[in-house]
């Protein structure tokens, strides 16, 4: 596993071109309960995956069960999560290690912290809980940008 990323655009250029090339990605695992149940949307998101890259669409529960395998098996895997709630659910069940905040865009109740990171008060609590549990959380949209640690981003 080479990256765990929260990105509400899911499979898109920054992931495929930016992080995919930098990490020599071989597999994308998109953990999203909604997408897991929609074959049509899975097909849509597959259009953004380069040839030779595997892609899977597990539910959160399936991700929890498979997580240890992703950490140790061969394919260089990027795990994509659609939102903070999903990373919090996953992080409550498995040791995430490090999480990249790559794209959480403006929505109701959210405050801007970076042009690509907006967080609501409840999302902030969830991220701080993960951070307090030892997960290294940084914001970084593309590999060439400076990673911004959560503490620097939002303070304590």
């Amino acid at each position: 596993m080479v990256l765990i990323r929260v990105d509400d655009r899911l499979i898109h250029g920054q992931v495929v071109v930016g992080w995919g090339r930098q990490t020599h990605m071989q597999r994308i695992v998109l953990v999203d309960d909604e997408l897991h149940g929609s074959e049509w949307e899975q097909e849509l998101y597959r259009t953004g995956v380069p040839d030779g890259i595997a892609v899977e669409f597990p539910s959160v529960d399936e991700a929890v069960a498979a997580f240890d395998g992703w950490r140790t098996d061969a394919p260089r895997t990027i795990v994509l999560l659609p939102d903070v709630n999903t990373v919090a659910r996953l992080g409550a069940a498995v040791p995430l290690g490090a999480v990249n905040l790559g794209g959480i865009h403006d929505a109701r109740d959210r405050q801007e912290w970076l042009p690509y990171v907006y967080l609501s008060p409840s999302e902030l609590v969830l991220l701080r809980t993960l951070s307090d549990a030892g997960v290294a959380i940084t914001a970084q949209d593309v590999p060439t940008a400076r990673p911004v640690p959560l503490g620097e981003l939002v303070g304590r």
């Binding site: 655009r9 899911l10 898109h12 495929v16 849509l44 259009t47 953004g48 865009h105 403006d106 929505a107």
Partner: protein, 126 residues
């Protein structure tokens, strides 16, 4: 409702606005066009912007890449809006032609745009 199909151009960065500016510079009008950038937009916001731009009018949504956030939001929008067609791989040639032929159904206009856009791709070598 304006006359003719609406053309909604959804792209990364400022490309959509630049393409529409170019259409206006060449034809003298950008009537019927709306530009949307995905900058700062998650999927939900992009869907909202497309919905606002299309409204109830029949429309063709042009996106820049045949994958990625612009296409994904447009395709998801299209699924529940039968009066819309989506064309990926937008170029200036297809927009110019669309500007002059905004009649007919979105589906017919999309097919025409694909044909015109593809015909514009040429390689000139010595």
């Amino acid at each position: 409702m304006s006359d003719g199909l609406r053309g909604v151009v959804v792209t990364h960065g400022t490309l959509a606005g630049a393409l529409i500016d170019a259409v206006a510079a060449i034809t003298g009008t950008a009537e019927g066009f709306v530009a949307i950038s995905n900058a700062g937009c998650g999927r939900e916001r992009l869907l909202e912007e497309i919905e606002t731009a299309v409204g109830d009018d029949p429309a063709v949504v042009f996106v820049d890449l045949p994958s990625g956030s612009c296409l994904q939001a447009s395709a998801i929008f299209r699924r529940s809006h039968a009066h819309v067609a989506v064309v990926a791989g937008v170029n200036l040639a297809m927009l110019l032609d669309f500007a002059l032929h905004r009649e007919g159904t979105p589906s017919d206009a999309a097919a025409r745009a694909r044909e015109v856009g593809a015909r514009a791709l040429q390689v000139w070598e010595p």
